[in-house]
């Protein structure tokens, strides 16, 4: 259980971490791509805007009235203003809120502009200003300035971005003048404000020299309160880098606009851009935690319902093993555990009962043996036999004395030696033969006996001390009452996988009544013990399907049949 718990959290955390890392990486890649796309989009929008302004300049460039004005004879200020163009120069700024003003400056000092624009400062030589000079230098294209203060007019100092274009004489290539369009920042502001690079991100624009064209916090930059990594931006091609100028890491994306030469720079705070990844991490961590907590809860539940009962069971089993028999566990658990507990209880009691039973059986066996032994070591038999020996010795029948004493010795040796209960048939036959020898000598002509045991059965195993009691019975209860000559036959054969031993006599037999209840006869004399004892011992050793059977007819004889299992000698 514990190892199970130990494995789950690390595995869970490992898997979650792997999933998070991969997803976060993907998210960040997507965010980076998005930043680049957005910056590119702004760049394209700006380019489009400049192109629009260019188109406007072109209109003026090709307008014959403009050229006419510039090439008209005369010296300023005596130039006749063209109302049509002037009206036009007034209308355009009115229509487009981002165009502050449009002017045409002649090279010799004549100026074309709307009447409401303001008064040109008399001391300014506009030909010296950068927008004019650069336009002349470049000649065939427009020039876009970065942000600057327009100082041509009295009391006006607006910040503008200027687009200027030189007008050349088509034949001589001589410079006639320069068109000037001043743009305020409203459109650029709008374009740049459209984007979102995280909650705090922004876009700014640099020109080729690194001057700021537009910045959402332009005044702060101009005051030196805010810096951007302008050097680095100027020296790189389009791309992205991360920097930590302001203390917080930021991702800076640069897109170079080919049309204007400007650099569009998108700045996003890394922390804001990582918010989706952050959220993912939080979600994963929470999910992990929830899973772990839930898992732990389930484990605790399982532990109390399953693991603990099993441990209880295990402990009880140990106790049984140690010798405490018959203990039971209270059946408290549910489901399969309850079945286990029931089975355990049953088993415990059964073991106890079986052990009891075995003990009793062993005891019974011992008692039986004891009785058999007692029967064997019958004092009367001993006295009588010894008397016979004495009588025979007095009569001089020495040979018979030797035989008798030898047989007696062997008889008692077997009876007293203890040892195995299971002996080969030949030993048992030998034992009963010894008995018969003695009785034959004692009783002489009373009976005769035959042994009819199949020789192949000799090595087969049987229980000891079976035949002698039967023969004893035959002599004392069968033949003795009938008178000589009696006949005792001892048989041994195999039938139906059983060993059959028989003792048959032609004695007086039994009445049906005595036959019926021979088992109930009280153990009075030695012979009374015999039959019941034999059967008892047989059944104790081999089971109740084996035992004694008695067939008897009054005056005809008695046959006692013993059924034993056929046990080969191994």
């Amino acid at each position: 259980m514990l190892s199970f718990i130990a494995i789950i959290p690390p595995v869970l955390i490992l898997v979650s971490w792997a999933v998070y890392e991969e997803s976060a990486r993907s998210l960040n890649q997507i965010t980076a791509l998005y930043s680049e796309q957005i910056t590119k989009q702004v760049s394209q929008n700006i380019e489009q805007y400049i192109r629009d302004m260019n188109d406007l300049a072109s209109l003026l460039y090709w307008d014959p009235d403009v050229r006419g004005f510039l090439t008209a004879p005369g010296k300023p200020p005596q130039i006749i203003p063209r109302r049509r163009i002037e009206g036009w120069l007034v209308t355009v700024p009115k229509i487009r809120s981002d165009i502050r003003a449009v002017y045409v400056f002649g090279h010799d000092g004549r100026v074309l502009m709307g009447p409401e624009v303001g008064e040109l400062k008399s001391w300014i030589r506009y030909q010296d200003q950068i927008w004019y000079r650069e336009a002349i230098q470049v000649k065939d294209r427009s020039v876009v300035s970065s942000s600057h203060v327009q100082n041509l007019f009295l009391n006006q100092y607006p910040w503008v971005v200027s687009l200027s274009r030189a007008i050349l004489d088509p034949h001589s290539g001589e410079v006639l003048g320069v068109i000037l369009i001043d743009l305020n920042f409203s459109v650029i502001d709008d374009i740049c404000n459209q984007i979102t690079l995280g909650s705090r991100g922004y876009v700014f624009i640099l020109d080729q020299k690194g001057s700021i064209v537009y910045h959402p916090q332009q005044q702060l930059v101009y005051s030196g309160l805010k810096t951007e990594n302008i050097d680095r931006i100027l020296h790189m091609k389009s791309g992205t880098f991360t920097e930590k100028e302001t203390g917080e890491p930021r991702r800076v994306t640069v897109c170079i606009s080919r049309a204007t030469g400007w650099r569009i720079v998108g700045v996003g705070y890394t922390r804001d851009l990582l918010v989706p990844a952050d959220r993912l991490r939080k979600t994963v961590i929470l999910a992990c935690l929830a899973a772990l907590t839930g898992g732990l809860g389930v484990l605790i539940f399982l532990a109390s319902r399953i693991a603990h009962p099993i441990q209880r069971l295990e402990r009880s089993m140990r106790r049984v093993e140690a010798g405490e028999l018959g203990i039971t566990v209270p059946v408290t658990a549910q489901y399969e555990i309850a079945a286990l507990e029931d089975a355990f209880n049953l088993m415990s009691q059964r073991i106890r009962d079986l052990l009891e039973q075995t003990r009793r059986e062993q005891e019974a066996k011992r008692k039986s043996e004891l009785r058999a032994l007692q029967a064997q070591i019958n004092p009367h038999f001993l006295y009588n036999t010894l008397d016979s020996v004495v009588w025979m010795a007095e009569s001089g029948r020495l040979q018979d004395v030797v035989t008798m004493v030898s047989a007696l010795a062997k008889l008692f040796r077997r009876a007293l030696s203890g040892g195995k209960d299971i002996i080969p048939v030949c030993d048992e036959i030998e034992h009963v033969e010894n008995y018969l020898i003695i009785q034959k000598i004692r009783y002489g002509e009373l009976f005769n006996y035959h042994l009819e045991v199949a020789p192949e059965l000799m090595p087969v195993l049987t229980l000891k001390l079976l035949l002698q009691p039967l023969v004893e019975n035959s002599i004392y209860h069968g033949i003795k009452h009938k008178g000589p000559p009696g006949r005792i036959v001892i048989r041994g054969y195999a039938k139906d996988q059983e060993l059959i031993l028989e003792v048959e006599d032609d004695g007086v037999g039994m009445t049906p009544a005595r036959l019926a209840n021979w088992r109930q006869r009280p153990p009075s004399s030695s012979s009374g013990v015999g039959l019941t004892n034999v059967e008892e011992r047989i059944q104790l050793y081999f089971g109740e399907e084996f035992g004694l059977r008695i067939f008897s007819e009054p005056d005809r004889g008695t046959r006692v049949t013993i059924n034993l299992p056929l046990k080969p000698p191994n």
Binding site: V149, L154, S223, L225, A303, S304
Partner: protein, 326 residues
């Protein structure tokens, strides 16, 4: 078995606590957000100079996500009005106070009260006679005065009579600039300071006292105007009296009017400060002070001498003409 169950519940509890801690750490933003506003008190908002200070202040307020209580007075000498606002700030238990004081002494008791109440005070533009403000963000007025003297001496070729048109006698800037001017001018023995007049932040008054001075000193060669209303008023006077070509005028700060005079030559030079930066840094320092972070005792926002020749350079453009796209 009983004991084991308790152990499991303990582990569960620990995990729950750890979980809550993680959630707290992840979700709560790192910076403490300042909820109470910052009080910002300036002088006469009618002057472009203070307008720029205001713009800088709001710019910083937006960046640092604080709200401002912005107060101003009708004229540069209304220190009582300012004291009233400081009282309000104390009542409202603001996070911090930024003050451009009209007078070096009169506001000190209120500053003491604010500091004792745990509200840090930051002074901008004008210093006060107290050590209690945690920071001063201003131009080095003494050195600015000295710069003016250098320029004027050069314009006069080291010889001539000059007059000072000052603004408010008790104002720190007035005192320090004049101090710096006089000290520097002492090194040009050919230049004599013949008169000092006060215009109290009003261009019309400045015009009047300048006309007066011009009449009193017919051979006056130079004028030092200590702030923008003084400069504009004096310039008006010069034009009126037709003396703009004979008298060299060095002024302070840059309003549109002053710039126009500069371009047209009536004003020969101006020492320009950094009001936008002052306002911005005022709020930034106040935020830091409110967060109990260390702040510098003095931030010099600098001054630049502007002439007709250099006024449209790329750097000076940015200084003279605050970027205002609308």
């Amino acid at each position: 078995m009983r004991i084991k169950k308790k152990k499991w519940y303990l582990i569960l509890l620990v995990m729950a606590i750890v979980g809550c801690a993680i959630i707290w750490w992840e979700l709560v933003p790192n910076q403490t957000v300042i909820s109470r506003p910052i009080c910002f008190v300036v002088k006469d908002l009618g002057q472009e100079y203070w307008e720029l200070v205001q713009k800088g202040a709001y710019s910083a307020a937006k960046e640092f996500q604080v709200s401002l209580l912005f107060y101003w007075v009708g004229n540069d000498s209304d220190v009582n009005g300012q004291i009233g606002f400081l009282g309000k700030a104390l009542q409202k238990r603001v996070q911090a106070v930024v003050l451009a004081s009209c007078d070096v002494k009169a506001v000190v008791p209120k500053i003491m009260q604010l500091t004792r109440a745990g509200i840090p005070v930051i002074t901008i533009d004008s210093s006060v006679h107290s050590d209690l403000p945690v920071s001063l963000i201003a131009t080095d007025n003494i050195s600015a005065g000295a710069k003016t003297a250098q320029v004027l001496a050069r314009l006069l070729g080291g010889m001539g009579e000059v007059a000072i048109i000052n603004h408010v006698p008790g104002a720190a800037t007035a005192i320090q600039r004049e101090q710096g001017f006089r000290k520097e001018m002492a090194r040009h023995p050919g230049v004599k300071i013949v008169s000092t007049r006060y215009s109290y932040g009003d261009p019309d008054r400045a015009e009047t006292v300048t006309v007066d001075t011009l009449e009193l000193f017919p051979s006056l060669a130079g004028l030092f105007c200590v702030n923008e209303p003084a400069a504009v008023g004096a310039a008006q006077a010069l034009v009126l009296e037709n003396r703009d070509h004979t008298v060299k005028l060095v002024g302070f700060d840059n309003s549109l009017a002053e710039i126009a005079y500069l371009e047209s030559g009536v004003i020969d030079a101006a020492v320009v400060q950094n009001p936008f930066t002052m306002g911005y840094l005022g709020v930034r320092t106040a935020v830091a002070a409110a967060r109990h972070q260390p702040v510098p005792r003095w931030i010099d926002t600098g001054s630049t001498v502007i002439t007709r020749e250099n006024m449209f350079s790329e750097e000076n453009q940015k200084l003279l003409f605050p970027f205002n796209p609308k």
